[in-house]
Symmetry: C2
Subunit: 368 residues, 2 copies
């Protein structure tokens, strides 16, 4: 498991594969040359009255290639912020469990049609509401049939990352891309796809791992996990990756300022909302919310409405008040296109698994 | 313009037409019997290389009838809460500018196909990203082509409300239903539909009326309105409509409690998220966020994932601390399926038009 170093997150809009964060639940499957040659994904449509067929990498490549730029974020990104409120379980990520790539592959819809799913509405009427996925490493996950079959859903079975063959760590030879969803649903090393009346079995879909419990629940045994939905679509997030003096002052001239003074600073960072929701604004404050300055969106602002699968990068010059300890504190909050905002604190979203900490992001800098 | 009285909001899951809130920008169009007989909607597909054709009410009724239960909410609902922070412009709604109905009509996708839109992807590739609507009263609005043509988008041209002919106040003879979107996009008295490269003209789509400006902007003239997106998809909301002693105590036994005591109270209300997002939880607190109790979802909890167009009703018994003035204060916050939450305060989402105040909802009750 590896996080992207904070200042490197916004160095590249498309994260290079060697920087792209890594989160695995199991060891990375090793495939021999022979395994790769014989690689295929099983499609089980027997529930739909269809067959069980095998689709090879060559079959996938015969279908129209689609490229989708998506941001993937671990559901536990920024878990460390929760730990300041109360200890959670799980990897103590900073803000670096997030990256973006351009994935190339076949549209899941096209592959499911090739496998025999000719009428998804009929399937749904029969109760077949889920498409379930299995990975070579034993990971199981599911999405609903409308996300898979929606012509605007942009789900793909990817065999390329940033124009190159998918790296082993990122799901070689075939991974699922479910744009706008938590990274865990973007199953790597896909080995099986099936229609079902029920969501996937196992801890990653039905277990505690991806369930956001209420803030007052400190013992997961006290609740009925089955009744709690699993993380699927990502929430609204932003992160400040850079904070400096900009062109206004420098570390040397800053010495003439004192606590209580307001100085101009420059911040840069990223923002992302799940579900294809565009970032409509990122606002920053250097005086703990008394005033807000709107950032300039620098990259990613031109994504289609409702299909903004990738992050935006932003930059902002704003006034910040020097605190008694000689630092300035800057907070960012992003708004998605439904005008949902990041909450101010994480103490009211705290959950024992430490999932989805999307409160205002904060960064401070020593001024004098 | 008429709000639903607070305690009546959750009396009926499907709001009766006579209670359904009303918000008009202009006088309600009056149609003679002759007008009704000759009623048709103009479809202009000339931008797509098609024709301008007229579709009558009878034509609409020949298409498959689809029924969709959606909640409609005014973008200014709960504006009054903002006015406590700083004065906004616009009607000072409480929480009653929200209602739910079962709409019956033809799928917009089917009608657009009937009008000649055979390849929406080709249309989009040509830059025709918008479907624009005009109303008899001069209202103009638009949505993106993927919402209109998405087979799971559930947009309809409705001629029925709760199984009856659409009432005049609610758009008779034909209104648009855009599930999950702010009510303003659900254009009444639809007279024209067209494909376009650009969003609709006029103040309701491009003007200040439905634009959520940054909190520090107190003079709309200081910003470039064209660059700000308009309200489209609704955000995450909840409202407490009832607060009482439940079965635990009554107004008479309550007298024995004093400030600082914790008593059990019972609250009921609604919650809704735009964009088809299911409500996964409503949490309530009676001690200003120290502890949270999760409500029971009583109606609306069985909607499909991602197509939860209507609200849920909930009920919750929770401990509440008696304040020095003898009252208890209860706050509700809902979570949508992306685990976005309502913000604690509205002071950081304040905007001069007073749109989208979705902060925690609060209600208090005199105990002794």
């Amino acid at each position: 498991n590896a996080e992207v170093p904070e200042q490197m997150i916004t160095e590249n809009y498309i994260t290079p594969p060697e920087l792209f964060y890594i989160r695995h639940h199991h060891p990375v499957p090793y495939l021999t040359e022979e395994d790769v040659k014989n690689y295929h994904v099983k499609f089980d449509l027997t529930q739909y009255g269809g067959k069980e067929i095998e689709i090879s990498l060559a079959d996938l490549k015969k279908l129209k290639k689609v490229e989708v730029v998506t941001t993937l974020q671990c559901s536990g990104n920024r878990r460390s912020g929760y730990n300041d409120v109360k200890k959670t379980s799980g990897t103590s990520w900073g803000q670096g469990a997030v990256s973006t790539a351009k994935w190339g592959g076949a549209r899941l819809k096209d592959v499911l049609e090739l496998a025999g799913l000719d009428d998804p509405f009929a399937a749904e009427d029969e109760g077949l509401e889920y498409v379930r996925f299995e990975s070579l490493d034993g990971m199981k996950s599911s999405i609903t049939i409308d996300k898979a079959m929606n012509p605007y859903g942009d789900c793909i079975l990817a065999y390329e990352m940033n124009g190159e063959t998918l790296p082993r760590d990122h799901g070689f030879p075939v991974r699922l891309i479910v744009p706008g969803y938590s990274a865990v649903r973007n199953v790597k090393w896909v080995s099986k796809v099936e229609l079902s009346k029920y969501e996937a079995e196992g801890p990653w879909q039905r277990g505690l791992n991806y369930k956001t419990l209420p803030p007052s629940v400190t013992d997961a045994k006290s609740v009925d996990i089955e009744k709690m939905p699993s993380m699927m679509v990502g929430s609204i997030f932003s992160g400040i990756t850079n904070l400096d003096f900009g062109k206004h002052i420098n570390a040397s001239t800053a010495k003439s300022y004192k606590a209580g003074d307001s100085i101009m600073v420059k911040a840069g960072g990223w923002a992302w909302a799940g579900g294809g929701r565009n970032i409509v604004r990122v606002d920053l404050t250097g005086d703990n919310g008394e005033t807000w300055t709107t950032a300039e969106i620098q990259q990613g602002g031109d994504q289609k409405f409702g299909r903004a699968w990738a992050w935006v990068f932003w930059s902002c010059e704003l006034p910040a008040t020097i605190q008694d300890d000689g630092t300035v504190h800057v907070h960012s909050k992003a708004l998605d296109h439904a005008f949902n905002v990041q909450p101010e604190h994480c103490r009211h979203t705290w959950n024992i698994r430490g999932l989805g900490n999307n409160s205002w992001h904060s960064k401070h800098m020593k001024v004098n």
